[in-house]
């Protein structure tokens, strides 16, 4: 029943929930302004940016302590905070990118709802990063998904966009249907839906292993769909190619980040012995199912298939789609380790991946603004037509391959060291082989840009100053974090604490 204790806890929860509340307020204010000023071009984008920045200020200022809020439904901890900041940065960059997107504003299209839905999607992902209850996970995944289904088909009269959106919604609905079935089985096994209660039920009673495996696989299928892990990746190339470039970039970074956050939290809080947590290095699995092997298999499949299929791609969006599948595989390697070092490496890799992947998509977008499509043939001679943009693209490509002195190297280095410290040496070998394969298709882009040069040399592409500023914002950190990475390491190491309940 409602009493004083509940009310005081609720008040504390609402205080800690401020960044999310600001997002919802932004969502509603933007909606009202969109109704009043129907024809403004950038007003809603400006309102969204203001709201996101405010939310970010409160997010950064929040204390680093851990707490269970809203009756244990959400876990407020540094781990969730890291992912929230990452998602927020991505969102701000995406909104800025969208302002320069030609595809989006073509034919005087209204874009108010576009920015509104991006804010709504951010709200869903924030919740996913802190969700500590399977029903909240399901609700947050759906909040994120429903916004992204619509955003993928935002340019609705373009056939390939509407097609992308149909594929995304049908397969997405099916995968979340599987997930809720798995959740119902977990509920039947443990009698509870909160991660820490599942954990204590698993310690205290004898759980049937096979049923738990089926339920866990169904839930991982739902999350795996969002992080496009093989074999749940089949939608990725089509949706990434059909959706507007800004949304493709957003899906490839932010929704993956949210998916990884919930995957790590779910595995760690539910399936690892929390009573033995005094020693941070060792996580002990409870139950008979070895989840490490399950994730290791997913990881190998994901990176191998992503890299091999990427070799044949001729469309830049499709190529980057497969490349992002491969990167999800590398990040899953960090999850396999299942120690604090592993989680730290995941955080580092994700931050680096955010910068370099957004950068690559930004270049694809501004080239597509000029040439009208993303065919790799259009990149012939770009190195001479747009020297600065191409130079930035080279930085991003080197970083995506994982070569020094770029940030990508630091990410790869962190993940591989973590894997080598565990007993999964073979996994590290597969990862290195995959990185070598990936070199080929990244070099292919480079070759098209600089070495193949036909047609006319005379034409020089001009870009707006805003796009240059955005490029610099993304390219400079890619280089800086490759050389001076201590702050990133420190931040990741301090963010690794996952709140485990009381």
């Amino acid at each position: 029943m409602i009493d004083e204790i509940f009310l005081s806890q609720l008040k504390q929860s609402v205080d800690l929930f401020l960044p999310e509340t600001i997002l919802v307020a932004t969502f509603i204010i933007a909606l009202i302004f969109d109704l009043i000023y129907k024809n403004s071009r950038y007003l809603i984008a400006v309102i969204s940016i203001i709201g996101l920045v405010f939310s970010g200020i409160f997010l950064v200022n929040q204390s680093t302590s851990s707490a269970a809020i809203f009756s244990g439904m959400l876990s407020f901890d540094p781990f969730g905070n890291f992912f929230k900041i990452l998602i927020l940065l991505t969102t701000i960059i995406i909104v800025l990118m969208s302002v320069f997107s030609k595809e989006l504003y073509e034919g005087g299209r209204k874009t108010g709802e576009y920015y509104i839905l991006i804010v709504g999607m951010t709200f869903g992902m924030f919740l996913l990063a802190v969700a500590n209850n399977l029903i909240i996970v399901y609700l947050a995944i759906e909040t994120m998904s429903i916004s992204s289904y619509i955003l993928a088909g935002y340019t609705k009269e373009i056939k390939r966009a509407s097609e992308a959106s149909l594929k995304y919604v049908i397969f997405g609905a099916v995968s979340s249907g599987m997930m809720i079935y798995g959740i119902s089985l977990i509920y039947g096994l443990t009698g509870s839906l909160t991660f820490d209660a599942i954990n204590s039920a698993m310690i205290s009673s004898d759980i049937s292993g096979l049923t738990l495996l089926i339920a866990g696989l169904m839930i991982i299928a739902g999350i795996g769909y969002k992080i496009s892990a093989v074999p749940f990746h089949f939608w990725t190339p089509d949706v990434y190619e059909g959706a507007p470039i800004t949304i493709t970039a957003y899906l490839s970074v932010a929704s993956k980040a949210a998916g990884f956050a919930v995957l790590i939290r779910f595995l760690k809080v539910s399936f690892f012995d929390s009573t033995n947590y005094a020693n941070d290095e060792i996580w002990t699995l409870i139950g008979t199912i070895d989840w490490q092997i399950v994730i290791a298999i997913l990881s190998v499949l994901t990176m191998t298939l992503g890299n091999l299929v990427a070799l044949w791609q001729t469309n830049m969006k499709r190529l980057l789609a497969y490349s992002s599948i491969a990167h999800a595989g590398y990040i899953l390697m960090g999850v396999v380790v299942m120690t604090d070092i592993g989680v730290t490496s995941v955080l580092i890799y994700f931050f680096v991946y955010m910068i370099m992947n957004l950068g690559a998509f930004l270049v694809v977008m501004i080239i597509a603004n000029k040439t009208g499509n993303e065919d790799i043939q259009k990149y012939n001679g770009i190195g001479h037509k747009a020297p600065f943009v191409s130079a930035c693209m080279v930085i991003f490509l080197i970083s995506l391959t994982g070569l020094p002195p770029t940030a990508g190297f630091i990410g790869k280095w962190a993940v591989f060291t973590a894997v080598l410290k565990s007993e999964y040496i073979w996994l590290a070998v597969v990862g290195v082989l995959n990185s070598v394969v990936s070199l080929y298709y990244y070099v292919k882009i480079f070759r098209n840009m600089y070495i193949r040069n036909f047609e006319d040399d005379s034409e020089i592409y001009e870009f707006s100053p805003g796009t240059y500023i955005l490029l610099i914002i993304l390219a400079v950190p890619t280089l800086i974090f490759g050389i001076y990475f201590t702050p990133l390491l420190d931040w990741a190491e301090s963010s690794v604490k996952i709140f485990l309940g009381v």
């Binding site: 009756s71 909240i136 009269e157």
Partner: protein, 168 residues
Amino acid sequence: MSLIDIAFYFFAILIIASAYIVVTSKNIMYSAFALLFTFFGVAGIYVLLNADFLAITQIVIYIGGILVLIIFGVMLTNRITGVDIKTGTMSKFQIWMTAILCVIAAIGLILIFTQTNWNTALSPTKASTIEDIGTLLLTDYLIGFEIASVLLLIAIIGAALIARRKTN
């Protein structure tokens, strides 16, 4: 056999038979109407399981909302209602393989589930669950309640945005 047993078997057969029609009928309108009986049967199962509020919700939202939506979808995407739409492009062999795999999966799952020791406890008998559901929704699940409201707002905006006709 008690009355409850008879009711269970009645609803179970209703659900299975109508679900079979939903997934096999060549006529999309027949499928939609069979879905009505499936939803109704599930509502009956909820009553047997002491979930009175859910049974009403099932009828109001599933039958009154989702099913009407689906039937509208069928009618709006076919200019003449009730006409056979080409529903299958898979070969007979593929469909049979899928059917066999589904049957194997069903048998496997049933075998596993009957061996599993589920979390069970003696249940108190309650006249109605409405009060408990209301309390839980506004205390522990308050945040879920709020997320659901934001989600529905997003869905309304999005559906209206995508489905409205081109203005220019």
